[in-house]
Symmetry: C2
Subunit: 475 residues, 2 copies
Amino acid sequence: MARRRLTTDVAIVGAGTAGLAAWREVRKRGREALLIDPGPLGTTCARVGCMPSKLLIEAANAFHRRLVLDEFGIQGGTSLNIDLPTALARVRRLRDGFVAGTRRSTEAVGAALLRERASLLGPDRLAVGDCEVHARRIVLAPGSRPIIPGPWRALAASRLLTTDTLFEQRDLPERMAVLGAGAIGLELAQALARLGIEIHVFDLAPALPAVVDPVIGESLLACLGQELRLHLGAEAELTPTADALRVTNGTVDVAVERALVAVGRRPAIDGLGLETLGVPLDEHGLPPVHPETLQVANLPVFLAGDANAARAILHEAADEGHIAGINAASDSPEAFCRRTPMSIVFTDPNLARVGEVPQDADQGVVIGEVDFSRQGRARAAQHAYGRLRVYAEPKTGRLHGAEMCVPAGEHLVHLLGLAIHRQLSVHDLLGMPFYHPVLEEGLRSALRDAAGKLDSRRPASDLANCPSFDIEALD
Amino acid sequence: MARRRLTTDVAIVGAGTAGLAAWREVRKRGREALLIDPGPLGTTCARVGCMPSKLLIEAANAFHRRLVLDEFGIQGGTSLNIDLPTALARVRRLRDGFVAGTRRSTEAVGAALLRERASLLGPDRLAVGDCEVHARRIVLAPGSRPIIPGPWRALAASRLLTTDTLFEQRDLPERMAVLGAGAIGLELAQALARLGIEIHVFDLAPALPAVVDPVIGESLLACLGQELRLHLGAEAELTPTADALRVTNGTVDVAVERALVAVGRRPAIDGLGLETLGVPLDEHGLPPVHPETLQVANLPVFLAGDANAARAILHEAADEGHIAGINAASDSPEAFCRRTPMSIVFTDPNLARVGEVPQDADQGVVIGEVDFSRQGRARAAQHAYGRLRVYAEPKTGRLHGAEMCVPAGEHLVHLLGLAIHRQLSVHDLLGMPFYHPVLEEGLRSALRDAAGKLDSRRPASDLANCPSFDIEALD
């Protein structure tokens, strides 16, 4: 049976964050487009990613706070109780609200939304259900999926959870394993522990893989080690038993009722037909993609979002859809400067990083550091812990990057993000107002520490002289 | 009896934040100095200001949070109880730690610290106890005191509190008045209310005097009105009764056990002898002070910190001591650029302001606005309320200022503070990374709102084009 033929200016595969951004850019430029996604609609972020995890984390942190209430003179904190089914139902209720918002904007696409799976037939054609779509340009944004390593795939889905299924649980057991201590593993492990579950975290890596600077890694490890049983440096093996899962790594052997697999996500490119593009694919099956145009080789094809495995976080996926959409709608692709790299892991303390963190501390970078355990405002709020480091160019003081595990790290990293984006120096930042008492004063201590180590002498004042000033000499 | 004569390079009156900063700068430059303060030592900030208020506020907010625990699935929140004597004892215990730190650095001054009251005898001489101090330069930094309006001074100190006495209370009554809805009045009123005390706030002003933009004022009023009984727009009168204080303003008439007077602070210049300087004094008894050198007229005298009534907040007092100290130790005074003005009131939501806020919204300024009641992350944390506005130059998009009452306003205002300090535009800020989901995305919405209203067309992308890029044209 011959397929029905559809033609369009731009075919967009995937109605996630990247695909939706591409759709908007293409339509804004007056081009026709088809948006192709078999569902579920609503974006990875809203359905199974950023939003439900933050909803769970906020509940967990609210419950955890009971342990310091006594310090404040508040009685009864230890008799607070969390009802996990209610907590999980709230996560779904609010998540469904976020998903509904995204779905509405997806469904507003109308007849141009094809709820089908797409498979490339070449650089200008796709099989979509019983249609063949011919497009002048194609934007591929199929997203990503949680990785489940081969040996574990045979285990019962009721025992082995991923972020696709965790938030669907009606209740959670007393003891769980989290397999993988990366960004997602760490923040969910801490949240689950704070909800009262005994959590065992396993990772092959001997240090926390989400951290670059070992000094920050040790500080975070010391904080998290108080709440989590961290088993690092050896591979975990899973064995199903009658009523549990046995997790062993050679030295540890625990029985858990469920395990959350958080060893990463991979591009959802199975069956996408990338091999029909006629360009070489790498060992992960991915074609060459230009990071500033998102163009695949010299083809009229763009690969955006998590699926290109480059910067698999929401704000970068949105940028990539935006770049791919603009370029798919224009006659020649433009290159866009990508954002200063930034990442936040929503543990408490927040692990956050921006710009470049030196892999090797001795490579001619000045490091300014501060320990938040003595920071005034952090002590007032009963969350004085963690450490922050800034990395600067020794001659000019220009900031290269920062890494931290501190309270309100998610905010401090944005301040540093602006500074690094604008190529500012340690001295430039020290000229801004720092109120009192705020956690930003902790950051200032790190900046002052760096300023004292720069090649140039620190100026007498963080306040600039007013050059236009004219005053009679004193006496 | 002739006074003993002491000579020094620089006499510094007041060992508070400004005086201590001046001392460090003078000594760093190898000049002799005397630091004169009758005590109590420890700075206004640590003893009776920023620090104890924040300690009280953190306890109050921790207790208040019980009201949303139910939303998270946490049971028992409403049966939490606060023990005020314990809460107040914690405030004093931690405060004493902060004060001890400041006292230690003050006492390290050693014999150069004179624990006496000082009174000017002229622009180069001071009476200090039984000594006459002759100094080449004098830095005056005597600080400020809470204002108690004349008619109220006769009331019993046990009924009428100020920030000098509030934190010394062993317990607090069931009902209190807060007289004054400025920065200090508002943040302490909310804290006291959140500790379970029925609070009546009185202010002569018809709108919240701590806010400049009426739209932000209304938003804050709506938030605070749920916790406080706000009686604005009429003068309060106090009448002592047998076992209470009666507070009336014409329409309201309440009996309270204690009242906190928070109508402002005034320079502590009584008996300082400013009249001996031979320069005209204004209606408040203050001499002319140059804001960028802190020099008094053309005299070898500098007036720094709260006492000059210009920028009576800690980080500015520290800057002023620093400027006065540098200038007192040098041959000719230098002018220093002052910081971008910033203020934070630690209510929830935080009221915060930076840069210039237009008094009149129609004066050719573009306003970008965002309502935080629909902000994603704020909703996840169950604190979705408040409003933020940015003010920009219509032609260039350069940011003039911002005002807000939003969760984490204390952090967002620092990000905006850096932007305004560096004279950045709305577009410059939109180029930085914004992670997801964070409250900074709310700020970004306000920036985008402003960007859409600028005279120039908004560029196609917040991402800059890479000019160096060279790629073959697409097909």
